[in-house]
Symmetry: C2
Subunit: 169 residues, 2 copies
DNA sequence: AGCTTGAGTTTAATTTTAGATACTCAGCCA
DNA sequence: TGGCTGAGTATCTAAAATTAAACTCAAGCT
């Protein structure tokens, strides 16, 4: 009997198929970063952009969408606004990444890595990620708490503390 | 002078802002897994679902979208179809993950991990990922080729072999 | 021969996004 | 005082995605 079956011995329900999926962390993350321009904005922040006009120029994103996405990222605490002042101009806002935003790096590096492997141009990737100190390329890896590298097939998903069934009204 | 500026000394263009973004690996990955139900289907495959009716039941996704997304995932080589036969019924297709699909695990684990940290219920996550051999929890980490753990802020992005400027016709 | 089931397809209505365009607004400078 | 600039808003149209609901289709069973 696996960990799913244990949680539900007597009811006729299937814990995998009849569970409540509304508190899934993947779905909740996608609610925030799953919209079309959002991850691309974050990509540009990582590459060094910070101004409204930078994003507009490099992404070609309509201004109204850009404003909406930036506002949402700030509300969620993924970006923060600061001000900058170009000599001879007034102060204007710029967008910088927060620690909460930095914590999205592994997820986005995962997308980058898969794209590099399966969808890159014949010459290779358009952008490379390097470790600033040693210059070596970086990648994302799955590891367990004890530090062992973990193959995808050796990951077991089990019900967690917030596991619950879909209410069957 | 940083690695971006080096590639473009004489033109008046800014390599970060005037580069061609159409061959970005992140964007290309999102073209495939960025649609609404796609990642959630993969999540269910990892949790053990394989049949059309499984996905429909647990996701509550409309059947036509489910069929479209499954077909796309098979065309892209992320899922493959096999057949199963329930006693007394005819053979029917089921969907299993391929190695190419397994390679999306780090990206999706990254999303899961961020959601667990910032958007989980007070009790904790709904699902936990464990290393099958040792039972310890797994997470995704950014490391460099030499095995050093890398902080997000220590990642430097530099132009890669397929870097090019946006043509300015 | 007709009923049932799982796995779809079709259709049509609704909702959401995307995108273009024009407009606003605050301060700096001449 | 008037023009310029960066950072937005507002408005509208077109395109795409989402959804529910009804329909199809091929075995297996009775």
């Amino acid at each position: 009997m696996d960990a799913w079956t244990e949680v539900l011995q007597d009811t006729g329900m299937d814990p995998r198929l009849d569970r409540d999926t509304s508190n899934c962390s993947i779905a909740r993350t996608l609610e925030i970063v799953g919209e079309k321009w959002t991850i691309l904005i974050l990509r540009e922040v990582w590459y060094g952009s910070s101004r409204f006009s930078d994003f507009e120029r490099v992404l070609g994103c309509p201004r109204n969408l850009l404003a909406t996405r930036l506002r949402m990222l700030v509300e969620e605490g993924i970006l923060a606004t600061e001000t900058y002042k170009e000599p001879g101009s007034r102060s204007r806002p710029k967008y910088v990444i927060t620690p909460k935003g930095m914590d999205l790096v592994p997820a986005v590096m995962g997308l980058l890595q898969w794209g590099d492997r399966y969808r890159a141009d014949p010459e290779g990737p358009a952008v490379l990620a390097r470790h600033r100190e040693c210059g070596a390329r970086v990648d994302v890896q799955v590891r367990c708490e004890r530090g062992h590298p973990v193959q995808a097939k050796d990951i077991e998903s089990v019900p967690g503390p917030a596991f619950r069934l879909r209410s069957s009204e």
